[in-house]
């Protein structure tokens, strides 16, 4: 088949999958998770009549970003969307439709992954911008700071972390969804490792995605007396490691799908 046809199939399948996610019942949950902080941050702004004068601390935003945004909202949204890319097809007994069309399994994996990534990344990149400005905007010193070069640089860093997190967690959860019948058990294990990895020896910390994202988070949050602080790898190393690991995981997923046979009764 010509490469042009393959690209056409890929884009068609991506669009199709994207529409399916938007119609899916899980979509409501991840939208709620992404929009909840906007509501929480917007309320004080309205109640105070937009006249705040105290300077909102950037470190508090970093804490919110790391604890809630990265390790809860983005993590669980990726777990919910990507682990179900193939698992839901098994549960609904619809995977065989992809086996009956002249499309390579690699394309199916890629289309599903990219559609999931488009959904989660678009949602969280846009809501990240909104939460950032809603946090700093109500107080005039905060507004002034957010509009400075440094304030804008911080926002760009946060957005880059969101994008990298969606790419890496997305690939990981797609693989988990292909391997495990109940992806939530390994997801909880990964969550514990990612959230409390800082108390583990350096060798284990290097196995977490969080360490490689750390380099791009503008401010450092202290984790208390039990934390074993290690220096995050350089920016280039972090990007290369995350790109290589994500690509390897996606490739592994294609290998698994190529070997997957339709025997719904045992799945």
């Amino acid at each position: 088949m010509k490469s042009r046809s393959r690209w056409r199939q890929l884009f068609f399948l991506m669009r199709l999958e994207f529409k399916r996610y938007l119609r899916g019942r899980r979509c409501g949950g991840i939208f709620a998770l992404a929009i909840a902080p906007l509501v929480i941050l917007a309320l004080p702004a309205f109640l105070s009549g937009n006249r705040g004068i105290s300077f909102p601390l950037p470190i508090a935003y970093t804490q919110f970003f790391q604890v809630f945004w990265l390790h809860l909202a983005i993590f669980f949204s990726c777990a919910s969307v990507f682990s179900q890319l193939f698992r839901s097809e098994f549960q609904e007994k619809t995977l065989h439709y992809y086996y009956m069309v002249p499309i390579r399994r690699e394309m199916v994996v890629l289309a599903k992954y990219l559609a999931g990534l488009l959904l989660v990344a678009t949602l969280y990149l846009s809501t990240s911008v909104a939460t950032y400005y809603l946090y700093f905007w109500p107080a005039s010193p905060g507004r002034n700071w957010a509009l400075t070069r440094m304030g804008s640089q911080h926002l760009l860093n946060y957005l880059f972390v969101v994008l990298l997190a969606c790419i890496a967690y997305g690939a990981l959860f797609m693989l988990i969804g292909l391997i495990f019948r109940n992806p939530m058990i390994p997801a909880i294990f990964v969550l514990l490792l990612e959230s409390f990895g800082y108390v583990l020896p350096p060798i284990f910390q290097r196995m977490t995605i969080g360490l490689y994202l750390q380099r791009f988070i503008p401010l450092t949050v202290l984790h208390g007396p039990f934390a074993i602080m290690i220096e995050p790898p350089s920016a280039t190393t972090s990007v290369v490691v995350l790109a290589v690991v994500s690509s390897t995981i996606i490739w592994l997923s294609t290998v698994i799908l190529r070997r997957t046979q339709i025997t719904y009764s045992v799945d």
Partner: protein, 314 residues
């Protein structure tokens, strides 16, 4: 292009369970029916042709191509599966149009052709309704539309008449005939021999994962009827039974067990043999422990398919 679908010593195991074992088969154009009781291996054979399953041993070729190569085989094969499941939120039109687009049709062609195919299966009015709201018969028609939409050379239909009313059955059967006349390979599975024997050019009978008979429907019938049936008898004096049954023309072979506590009789007329056996037992006051068919293949499948009294099972 190779004109046959070939199975060369194909086996398929699901873990420790047997799907099909050592199947060697060639299927040419025309209507071929795979017949056998539930669990005989009909769907496994179909899934192997469609590339939904891969064989544990041996090789399958569809018109010269390996089913593992989806890009090559999917345009050749249309598969109406037994799975009664569809992606959520799709209408009949949506799913046929998506399939055609993935088969390389342009958006306009896919749209036009999808409506034409849905009209062919009698779903024009329901085309834009959600499949979830369809009746069983309508869902079966959508699956059939999906199988024929891209005009494949090989059509695989797993229990295609299920859920269809008599009128729809007649229409669908007519469509099979037209496709077969046009030189297509139409493979139909059924557990009811009567349902398919009138339309089939060829029948493959399966039992417990093995092909037990194949050929034209008349050949299969006569092969089954001519095939001697083996009957096992465990008793105290097998030599007495052996000496009496040897006088019967229908008895082909008698083997006395080494422990001298039983024998196996091969007969072409089991009914006559059972009547004779009753008489021998009573006349000679034999002590009989067990009487059972020793081969559970062709005869048992045939009996099953025809329902014993020849009326068929449903």
């Amino acid at each position: 292009m190779e004109r046959l679908i070939t199975f060369d010593n194909v086996s398929k195991f699901y873990g420790e369970s047997l799907g099909v074992n050592r199947v060697t088969l060639s299927i040419g154009p025309g209507i071929t029916s795979l017949v056998g009781p539930n669990g005989a291996g009909k769907t496994t054979l179909m899934n192997l042709i469609a590339g939904v399953l891969t064989p544990s041993g041996g090789s399958v070729h569809v018109l010269g191509s390996s089913p593992a190569d989806a890009e090559e085989v999917a345009p050749l094969v249309g598969y109406c599966t037994q799975f009664d499941s569809f992606p959520k939120g799709f209408t009949g039109y949506d799913i046929v149009e998506c399939l055609l687009t993935l088969h390389g049709y342009s958006s306009r062609e896919a749209s036009h052709h999808a409506m034409a195919v849905l009209a062919k299966v009698g779903l024009t009015e329901a085309a834009h309704r959600k499949i979830a709201a369809y009746s069983k018969g309508m869902r079966q028609r959508v699956k059939f539309a999906l199988a024929i939409a891209h005009d494949p050379q090989v059509l695989i239909l797993d229990e295609p008449l299920n859920g269809l009313d008599p009128m729809a059955r007649a229409e669908v059967i007519e469509l099979f005939r037209n496709l077969a006349t046009a030189g297509r390979h139409v493979i139909i599975s059924s557990h009811i021999l009567h349902e398919v024997d009138v339309i089939s050019d060829r029948v493959v009978m399966l039992s417990n994962g093995y092909v037990v008979a194949e050929g034209g429907i008349r050949d299969v019938r006569s092969e089954i009827e001519d095939h001697p049936m083996q009957i096992l008898i465990r008793c105290d004096r097998p030599a007495v039974i052996a000496s009496h049954v040897f006088t019967q023309d229908s008895v082909v072979e008698v083997k006395i067990h080494a422990d001298n506590a039983g024998l196996v009789v091969s007969t072409k007329n089991p009914k006559q043999f059972y009547r004779l056996l009753n008489r021998i037992i009573l006349d000679n006051d034999l002590s009989v422990e067990a009487v059972a068919p020793a081969d559970e293949n062709v005869h048992s499948v045939y009996e099953y398919l025809l329902g014993g009294n020849g009326t068929g099972r449903s």
